[in-house]
């Protein structure tokens, strides 16, 4: 086995970090932070497939996260579905929505695609806020605990392992995809769309496919968040959360699966660390972001890897 490839070495390293991290998590608050990092990382790993690898922007992925969260919440709380079935049905439903929405909008490019996905996210957000009989509107709704084989899964420590395991799975899926013919097609589209097309790649099929997959990642993360926190509000469905997710991907490093994880970790952790600065928090946060993009223009991980490779030579 070659431990230096991302699919073995990188995955093993991620698993080791997840296994050892509880040693440093001194109380429930830090468990909560770790879980939040994991949830954001799952979404970002999926979003990076779309943005970083296939080169297609989405400013609406918080919408898919929200559909996942509210789908699971509504099916289990209002209709009494078993949470596992609710999660499966919701993920399938979100995949279908992404397919139907993706087909027309992924024909657009650049700013137009950004606008279209932005609009999609806003519509989802509005529907969730206004359909208050089902969703509780702006006040949110409570969600029953996740039960599996009669066991109720609750508490930060349990969810730490569930989210950690899901993240490892998400990263494994992403790494597999990238090193497959389908993943190569996505990267080729990013490199030269016409070059990819004349090589036999159906650009629309490839873009819509990765859009659906990334939406499913976000939806699963949303479903899990709903059951983990037991209460959801439309806040996480907002346009701002979509921007936050894209920022994490770019910050960590586009076209790098582990970069997406690191971006999610850094930008989830940073505000927690900066709370001591009180009113200066946002200023310092902004300054860190700006200087990172100046000094690490490819994003955190790829820039560091490049510097490391140069040093070795």
């Amino acid at each position: 086995m070659n431990w230096r490839t991302p699919r073995t070495g990188g995955l093993a390293l991620l698993a080791a970090v997840i296994l050892l991290l509880p040693l440093a998590l001194v109380n429930n608050y830090w468990y909560e932070v770790a879980i939040l990092i994991g949830i954001n990382a799952i979404v970002c790993v999926g979003l990076n497939l779309l943005i970083g690898y296939a080169g297609q922007i989405s400013l609406g992925h918080a919408g898919f996260f929200g559909l996942g969260a509210y789908g699971s919440a509504i099916l289990s709380a209002r209709y009494g579905w078993p949470p596992a079935a609710a999660l499966a049905a919701t993920t399938a439903g979100v995949a279908l929505i992404a397919l139907l929405v993706g087909r027309p909008i992924l024909k657009l490019k650049g700013h137009y695609l950004a606008m279209a996905t932005l609009g999609m996210g806003i519509i989802i957000s509005i529907v969730i806020v206004t359909e208050d009989r089902l969703t509780g509107g702006p006040d949110g709704m409570s969600v029953p605990a996740f039960t599996l084989f009669g066991m109720s899964l609750a508490g930060e420590r349990v969810w730490y392992w569930i989210i950690g395991g899901t993240l490892v799975g998400a990263v494994w899926f992403a790494l597999n995809l990238i090193e497959s013919p389908a993943g190569r097609a996505l990267r080729a589209l990013h490199g030269s769309e016409v070059g990819a097309q004349v090589s036999g790649i159906d650009a629309t099929r490839a873009k819509v496919g990765v859009f659906v997959i990334s939406a499913m990642f976000a939806s699963v993360a949303g479903s899990m968040t709903a059951h983990y926190s037991g209460f959801i509000t439309p806040g996480k469905v907002s346009f701002f959360h979509s921007i936050e997710l894209v920022t994490m991907v770019v910050f960590g490093g586009m076209a790098s699966t582990f970069g997406a994880v690191i971006g999610a970790a850094a930008l989830t952790l940073l505000p927690q660390l900066l709370t001591v600065l009180k009113e200066y928090e946002m200023v310092v946060f902004g300054a860190v972001m700006v200087s990172t993009m100046i000094f690490f223009p490819r994003g955190l991980l790829p820039s560091l890897m490049l510097a490391l490779a140069r040093k070795r030579k």
């Binding site: 899926f173 190569r184 097609a185 080729a188 490199g191 030269s192 070059g195 004349v198 090589s199």
Partner: protein
Amino acid sequence: MSAPQPVAQLSVTALSKAFGGVHAVDQLSFELDSGKVHSIIGPNGAGKTTLLNLLTGVYAPSSGSVTFEGSDVTGLAPHALAARGMARTFQNLQIFFNMSARENVMVGRHLRERTGWLAALLRFPSLAAGERESRDEAAELMRFVGLDDYLDADADAMPYGALKRLEIARALGGKPKLLLLDEPAAGLNPTETHEIDTLIARLAQSGVTVVLVEHNMRLVMGVSDHIVVLDYGRKLCEGSADQVRNDPRVIEAYLGRAELAPC
């Protein structure tokens, strides 16, 4: 396989493409026989690249039709035409600079690979085996076009001449029946040009139909079985190298504007 086809492999009928007021390709008709080297020549702006874009589906024609291997393929998308056996290279490189050289060639095999999403996400064992085969065949193709030195290179670290050949290797990845090359020798030094020359001859020998767009007349006259001369989007004349070379209209079109590449 069936008996040799009596009809041409590719026939173009009254094909036209206008960009606003510019008739880049204008009422063009010709036929290309299977297994030969066909060249398309003409002064700058004659419409050669536009013609290639029409034939490979990159542009949709304003009017006219294209028939490939007996079926009407007018207006088909590039990937659909690739599936029918067309491949091409570009005058302005369309390399995947975000990938390694070998991966560029592997993309060229796309239509012969397992491209399902589920197999990819779960990395089915059969897929891993296919990947090994793909890497090996890509290396073989790179050696075939003379890229032995770049088997492990990143595309963005390769010189121009090598990238030109990388595009040819990628195009061959799909095992095309018809290969269209848009100025494969442009910007190459004489040695490299000579290598392209032998490469084209070898391709023709292997049974691939080659359509060559090229300004280097020595290359064109040496390898072509058949030449179509374009001027202002129209067909000026066609025929063998000798017929074309001695045609007064061709001499006029080129010398009239002093654009003939030195022979």
